[in-house]
């Protein structure tokens, strides 16, 4: 059986209904484990003090937000090439989740920057890119909301997502060119993977997994909601004609 079978709303509903409780449960478990471990059971960093605990939210949220964009891009491409309705709806469902994670990364970053860099915000390339990222998400969601016909909306947002991705890469480069930034170097005793001692690394990995699972669970629920709404609309429309 090809994976395209699941592009059929009925099959998708059946399958997602079966996996959803497991995904949601696993997400809750890993998140709880990772956060409790990170928050209560790790020592303070010698330089950053207790602020290092923010990493257990900041980094997973940031990477999940980036992955959400990737999911939307792939789903949009699938919709445009193969016109499977479920993939368009998955893209739609992922956007608000991605936006929330982006906001979380931004806010936790700001809370972290305050003690570390002495400022809530810096026009650092990474940060700037994330801000532009959040704007992309906002525009994308607004476009979905503004167009009434769902097929039209799916097509338009699909095109936007693809063009937007190209420009996101461009912006990344442009912003790097514009400012060399302090995100990495400034005060981090542990930016690159090999510098992170295991004490922090293991709970961090658990948290990253937790956020990804949470993303998956939320997207599944939201996609199921979208499918239900569309089905209800279809039924009501048919009723009207009958």
């Amino acid at each position: 059986m090809s994976i395209w079978e699941y592009a059929n709303p009925k099959k998708f509903m059946a399958l997602s209904g079966r996996v959803l409780p497991w995904v949601a449960g696993l997400a809750a478990l890993t998140l709880a484990a990772g956060l409790v471990w990170g928050f209560f059971l790790t020592p303070d960093d010698y330089k950053q003090g207790s602020t290092v605990k923010i990493i257990y939210i900041h980094v997973p949220a940031a990477s999940a937000a980036i992955n959400a964009w990737a999911v939307m891009l792939i789903a949009s491409l699938v919709w445009i090439v193969r016109r499977h309705h479920v993939s368009a709806l998955v893209a739609k469902a992922a956007a608000p989740v991605g936006l929330t994670f982006t906001l979380i990364a931004l806010v936790t970053g700001a809370f972290w920057g305050q003690p570390m860099w002495g400022t809530w915000w810096a026009w650092d390339p990474r940060l700037t890119n994330f801000l532009i990222f959040a704007l992309f998400y906002l525009g994308y969601i607004a476009l979905w909301e503004a167009v009434e016909n769902p097929d039209t909306a799916a097509d338009l947002t699909g095109v936007l997502c693809i063009v937007g991705s190209v420009f996101a890469l461009l912006s990344r480069y442009a912003v790097l060119f514009w400012n060399q930034g302090l995100h990495q170097g400034a005060s981090l005793s542990m930016d690159a993977q090999e510098n992170v001692s295991d004490v922090y690394w293991i709970p961090l990995v658990i948290c990253i997994a937790g956020f990804e699972l949470l993303f998956l669970a939320l997207v599944l629920v939201r996609a199921r909601t979208e499918i239900r709404t569309r089905r209800a609309q279809a039924l009501m429309a048919r009723e009207r004609l009958a």
Binding site: N8, P9, H85, N149, P150, A234, A237, R238, L241
Partner: protein, 208 residues
């Protein structure tokens, strides 16, 4: 130059509204579409004009032969009557502006801004676009809205001349056009009802 439609189904807002529609429109003939409000005349004409995809069935229309006129006239308020027509003449690559002005009795208004025309005068200008297009197959959505009796007669004469020259016309309307030679097709029987036809229709049907 024949338009052939077989077993066509069209959708609006994701719902199939008409299905099982077949007809041919040979050169020299006119076909009048009738049917109550909301039956799907506009939807059908837009589909034939290529603005939206058909749900099922086949439409065969020779390439570059169709001219479409919608509910709206597409006039630019700040261009004069003659400038409006000249633009479309250039787009279609014809030089028929003068003939069209004469044909729709617009000569006297040629230097007026389109903004200052009355409802019926605007409509006449919208119809003059067809003459300028030089296309043989006319697809018209309620062409005589707002026209007075004299202008309706003028329009009927223009359509007759078009048919005599080997053109054809498909017109949706609620009122009498005075085109007695035209066949009439009532769309009411083609209202989509059957479950089967709806099954794999528009985007909503994937969810039924």
């Amino acid at each position: 130059m024949e338009m052939r439609v077989s077993d066509l189904a069209v959708q609006r807002g994701g719902i199939v509204v008409l299905e099982g529609l077949s007809f041919t429109l040979p050169p020299g003939r006119a076909l009048v579409l009738r049917g109550p409000n909301g039956v799907g005349k506009t939807t059908l004409l837009r589909t034939l004009a290529g603005l939206q995809p058909a749900v099922a069935g086949e439409v065969s229309i020779p390439a570059e032969s169709l001219a479409y006129a919608s509910h709206a006239d597409g006039l630019k308020a700040t261009l004069t009557v003659a400038e409006n027509l000249a633009f479309w003449a250039a787009v279609y690559g014809t030089g028929l502006v003068e003939d069209a002005l004469a044909g729709m009795n617009l000569r006297e208004l040629r230097n007026r801004w389109a903004a200052s025309l009355s409802a019926g005068q605007k409509r006449r200008l919208g119809l003059a676009r067809l003459l300028v297009s030089g296309r043989p197959i006319w697809v018209l959505d309620e062409p005589t809205v707002s026209l007075d009796a004299a202008s309706v007669a003028l329009f009927a004469a223009v359509v007759r001349a078009h048919l005599a020259a080997g053109g054809s016309a498909l017109l949706a309307t609620h009122i009498d056009l005075g085109l007695d030679e035209a066949e009439v097709l009532d769309l009411t029987p083609f209202r989509a009802t059957s479950r089967a036809a709806r099954q794999d229709a528009g985007f909503q049907e994937a969810f039924l």
